[in-house]
């Protein structure tokens, strides 16, 4: 075995490092597929996001690029349109830079700062463009980048939007009930003795015609003649107490004419611990029951269907256990933003208990660090998949909404977030932020996206409201190329002979781990001079599914700061992690109906059955006398005797020949002086498989075997610029060959 290979294999198997295998200094190296994403501020992507203030209607969250694009779309036309668009593009980039450096801020403030940094004072045109764009931008909001604060801010924002909707609905209902109950009381009063007193009657008529009536007489007449239909005392008392109870409810801020007042005095529903949220829920339960009871009773009262004999007893005994989910759905949900990091056992147990008991909580479990350093000793490195396990456990409870996604992907999943927030029941959101809080050479956005690509933190949603079966509830489609183990990407680079080389590389879990500086001792950089044939890329090795042979070492493509490619040998521990990651992904795939083992087996059985049927059918056919089979055999024989097919003329290859006839004279092959072709369609109409157009729409012989020599000669004759040269016939048995060769002579 080669000495270099021995060194590599030793490192791969045992981690023993020889001096010529330096460890990988991660700030300098990054996985090759990430080479193009050094400066994220130059790339228009989903971040930063704008959390739109106020009642934003259908889109409370929009990406900055999309917001600016739609603003520009509405007004930037005409001669200055491009200029305005270019200036706003510069501003967008500046804002993106600001957010990357300093974190979140209000859009209007960031706009101002960015405009000043671009030198808006000195540049009239720039000022003009930005003023126009600013005037057209009708919304404002907080701009947030992709970092560790994002999940809580984003979820809080979506939660608030959902609660606003809920509050609106509840308040309109309560206002309606209170108004109609009050009317009952007022109507009762108008019919009573006090309501028919002369002074009240006079007040009811108003000042315009008060002289036309004798209110004393009117009062007497009414008191005598009108029927006595006042409310019974018990009902009046009940109605009044209902009004009081509804108006004093502490769950939603009271509705005012000016809209929804800020929640002063009402309960708070935002928690950072499940225990606290659960306790608050329990403590408020009696009040919740009271309000729910008041609403139900008020509805009956308003409809005039409240029967004391039947309903009194029922409502007195009404307890928390009698509340249906739609009753609970009227009230606000509890937003629980758990602090990042592993959950304490108490919190975890309480969370599972609360979710299974159907408490109205929306919980965010955030992971900041996917690499679990605490799990093992110094030398052991594993991927932290606890959040995934939590999600799986919760899905097994069947009626909890579950959504998992890395932060980078949250904008794509925002409809899922909104569905989860409006789902009538508990919901769990597991998010990986990509921002471990340690200095890193990769932006959190990239790390989070890499976690998605590498299947270490897949994105999925489980929506129990979407249907009765897994196929409609579970959605895995948010992942890139979900039917593969790892998404494969085209990777183009320049090789040592300065030629473009293309490879399909999968972004595996090993690539993800290599992004982290703690993986340095598992990786070893190799010198370019010592790249040997026994090296196999990690993605190829993992794709083959086999363990490396003793003479193979897996390597990873990585690039340094100058975009120079390096091969980095990975040790066995990393590959083991990648395989574990793939196993987890496979189980998710099965849930999502991709490569489902039951379906695959059923398919295999069906295929087998059909094959048997087909072969039975074939046997019956062979038994009957075959006709006409001789012809194909003859063709095959003819092909075997004809000269071996040479490669067809590559478009552009004859370009260098220029004067074609001289340089290619003596050749037996047909050819076209492609650069002189004037695209007149003559030859392609004779045979479009033999003659084809290249990327400049000029003809070349795509396949000399796709037609006859006669067609070649006819094409040569009809070509107006005489650039087709038919060469010598390839099939000696073609009829009329002598005449054709004669006709072809002028074109040789």
């Amino acid at each position: 075995m080669n000495a270099d290979l021995q060194t590599y294999v030793a490192f791969h198997r045992t981690g023993r490092r020889s001096p010529e295998l330096p460890p990988v200094e991660t700030p300098a190296l990054r996985p090759a597929l990430l080479a193009r994403f050094r400066d994220l501020t130059a790339i228009r992507h989903d971040f930063p996001l704008v959390l739109i203030h106020g009642d934003a209607g259908e889109a409370p969250v929009r990406s900055l690029s999309e917001l600016l694009d739609s603003t520009l779309h509405d007004f930037a036309h005409g001669p200055h349109g491009d200029r305005v668009a270019a200036h706003v593009g510069r501003l967008e980039r500046q804002i993106r830079t600001l957010v990357a450096q300093h974190g979140a801020g209000k859009l209007s403030e960031l706009w101002h700062v960015a405009a000043n940094l671009l030198g808006v004072r000195a540049d009239d045109q720039l000022r003009d463009s930005l003023d126009r764009a600013r005037a057209a931008l009708t919304v404002d909001g907080d701009v947030v980048g992709c970092d560790r604060r994002l999940p809580a801010l984003l979820l809080g924002h979506v939660w608030q939007a959902a609660q606003r909707m809920k509050a609106k609905k509840f308040q309109s209902e309560v206002v309606q009930l209170v108004r109609r109950l009050s009317e009952l009381v007022r109507g009762n009063e108008a019919r009573s003795e006090t309501g028919r007193a002369p002074a009240r009657l006079q007040a009811a008529v108003g000042t315009g015609f008060e002289d036309a009536f004798d209110f004393g007489t009117l009062s007497r007449v009414l008191s005598r003649s009108a029927p006595k239909t006042t409310l019974p005392e018990t009902r009046r008392g009940r109605v009044e107490s209902l009004v009081a109870a509804l108006q004093a409810q502490p769950f939603f801020p009271a509705a005012t004419d000016a809209g929804v007042a800020p929640s002063s005095g009402a309960f708070s529903f935002v928690f950072s611990s499940v225990v606290a949220a659960r306790d608050a829920y329990r403590a408020r339960l009696p009040e919740l029951v009271a309000v729910a009871r008041a609403v139900a009773m008020a509805e009956l009262e308003v409809a005039g269907e409240y029967r004391e004999a039947r309903h009194d007893g029922f409502f007195q005994q009404l307890g928390p256990e009698d509340l249906a989910p739609q009753d609970l759905g009227l009230f606000p949900d509890y937003l629980v933003t758990l602090p990042p990091g592993p959950l304490t056992p108490v919190e975890q147990a309480t969370l599972m208990e609360a979710l299974s008991a159907g408490l109205p909580i929306k919980a965010l479990v955030q992971t900041d660090d996917l690499i679990d350093a605490a799990a093992g000793s110094e030398t052991h490195l594993t991927l932290d998949l606890r959040s995934r396990q939590l999600a799986s456990m919760t899905m097994a409870q069947n009626d909890v909404y579950v959504l998992q996604s890395p932060a980078s992907h949250l904008p794509q999943m925002r409809h899922g977030l909104e569905r989860g927030m409006t789902y009538p029941g508990p919901a769990l959101f597991c998010v990986y932020s990509g921002d471990a809080g340690r200095p890193s050479h990769l932006a959190p956005y990239l790390v989070a996206a890499a976690a998605l690509e590498s299947r270490a933190f897949p994105a999925f949603s489980y929506d129990p409201a979407a249907g009765g079966d897994w196929a409609s509830r579970f959605d895995l489609s948010a992942n890139p190329q979900p039917d593969l183990d790892w998404p494969a990407h085209r990777f183009t680079y320049e090789d040592e002979t300065h030629q473009a080389a293309v490879e399909q590389i999968a972004f595996t879990a090993v690539d993800l781990i290599a992004c982290d500086s703690r993986s340095a001792r598992h990786l070893a950089r190799t010198a370019r001079s010592k790249w040997i044939p026994g090296m196999i890329s990690v993605s190829n090795l993992l794709a083959s599914g086999a363990k490396p042979r003793p003479d193979q070492v897996p390597y990873l493509w990585m690039v340094d700061a100058d975009n120079t490619l390096h091969r980095v040998v990975a040790d066995e521990a990393l590959l083991r992690e990648a395989r574990r990651c793939r196993e987890m992904w496979h189980s998710l795939q099965e849930l999502g109906g991709i490569h489902n083992s039951y379906a695959d087996r059923a398919l295999a059985r069906e295929r087998e059955r059909r094959q048997v049927d087909a072969s039975d059918h074939a046997t019956t056919l062979i038994a009957t006398p075959a006709t006409g089979t001789a012809a194909p055999v003859a063709i095959v024989l003819a092909a075997a005797t004809s000269p071996a097919p040479a490669e067809s003329i590559v478009p552009g290859e004859t370009a260098a020949a220029g004067g074609g006839p001289e340089s290619a004279s003596g050749s037996d092959e047909a050819y076209i002086e492609t650069p002189r072709c004037s695209t007149c369609n003559e030859c392609t109409q004779i045979n479009s498989r033999m003659f084809a157009y290249n990327e400049n729409r000029q003809a070349y012989i795509a396949n000399p075997d796709a037609g006859t020599f006669r067609e070649l000669v006819e094409a040569a004759e009809s070509c107006q610029v005489s650039i087709i040269h038919p060469g010598q016939p390839r099939n000696p048995n073609e009829p009329g060959l002598d005449e054709l060769i004669e006709r072809a002579k002028p074109f040789l």
Binding site: F37, H45, Q720
Partner: protein, 325 residues
């Protein structure tokens, strides 16, 4: 467009347009028609310059040549007979951000549209004009056109045409403010492409006459020129075309000509045999009409609506005014 998070890792700046992105439909020109070669050259230009389809417009009049916008997957305007140039000027004025090309024929440009042709040259707006000159009316099945050679027998001239052919090049070179004049032939695609490309890069009206075959009605007319390379004279200069070694091998009849020299250009332009091919005249300093007349006003949808309303109001009958007496 916003890039999706996962796509961000894959496709960036991946907005390259291939030749197919500019192709639309199968041309209905006759097999062997020179229009095919012009279409191919123009599509290649769009691809090589990566012109955005939504920022490119082809305007034409009437005739075989004027079917070209149908085969381009860009904006297009198949106008009325002889009026390709005024339409293109309007487009240019309203949308200076677009690349405007004009495809016109010998009948369209030199007969019914001749007045517009003269004044378009004088305006010198930034347009690229291709005169597809097949020297016959082909779409209406063979009538003599202004550029038909004397003696041509056609449906309108059964005893042969009486007049000498009009020379579009000398006419063009005689108009004030002319800034770019070139001639190409459709059967030398490489030179055709180079000239089309040079015309596109010229700021101002670039006028390219393309001598093209009509295999249906005049199959013999250009036959001698096709088969004798000496009957094509290639003009070359450091400021004009460079002739590639491959072309020089076949076309040995070449001449050095400085495109700044107007007198020499007029002299060359009057020759018809051999056909001069190359850039005859170029003057980048002639001002463009749209630069002289630019308003600087942002054309918002509101402004356009207001303008339209004002124009339409001129034709509105207002109730209080009553019928005209």
């Amino acid at each position: 467009m916003t890039t999706a998070a996962t796509e961000c890792l894959l496709q960036l700046y991946d907005e390259r347009h291939e030749l197919e992105d500019y192709q639309s439909g199968v041309p209905r020109w006759c097999t062997g028609c020179g229009d095919n070669a012009i279409l191919a050259a123009v599509q290649r230009l769009c691809r090589d310059e990566q012109l955005k389809p939504e920022k490119t417009v082809f305007v034409s009049g009437i005739g075989c040549s004027s079917r070209l916008p149908h085969y381009m997957k860009t904006y297009g305007f198949h106008g009325i007979h002889g009026r390709a140039l005024p339409i293109a000027e309007g487009v240019r004025m309203a949308r200076p951000d677009l690349h405007v090309f004009v495809n016109t024929g010998d009948g369209d440009c030199c007969s019914i549209g001749a007045a517009h042709w003269i004044h378009a040259l004088r305006y010198n707006m930034n347009l690229t004009v291709f005169l597809h000159d097949n020297q016959v009316y082909g779409l209406t099945k063979k009538q003599a056109s202004p550029t038909s050679p004397k003696g041509l027998k056609s449906n309108t001239t059964p005893r042969g045409s009486y007049l000498e052919a009009l020379n579009p090049l000398t006419v063009t070179l005689g108009v004030q403010n002319v800034s770019f004049v070139a001639q190409a032939v459709d059967w030398i695609p490489e030179v055709l492409y180079d000239i089309v490309s040079a015309a596109f890069h010229h700021k101002g009206l670039s006028f390219v006459r393309i001598v093209q075959r009509c295999p249906e009605w005049l199959p013999q007319l250009l036959e001698p020129f096709l088969h004798d390379p000496m009957k094509v004279k290639l003009l070359h200069h450091d400021d004009g075309l460079a002739i590639s070694p491959g072309i020089a091998k076949v076309y040995k009849n070449t001449q050095r000509h400085d495109p700044a020299d107007m007198n020499r250009a007029r002299e060359i332009a009057s020759g018809v045999d051999p056909i001069p091919v190359g850039i005859l005249y170029r003057n980048p300093d002639v001002p463009c009409y749209e630069d002289l007349r630019v308003t600087g006003q942002l054309r918002t949808p509101d402004l356009i609506r207001q303008g339209l309303e004002a124009e339409l109001d001129k034709f509105t009958v207002w109730p209080q005014e009553g019928p005209a007496t």
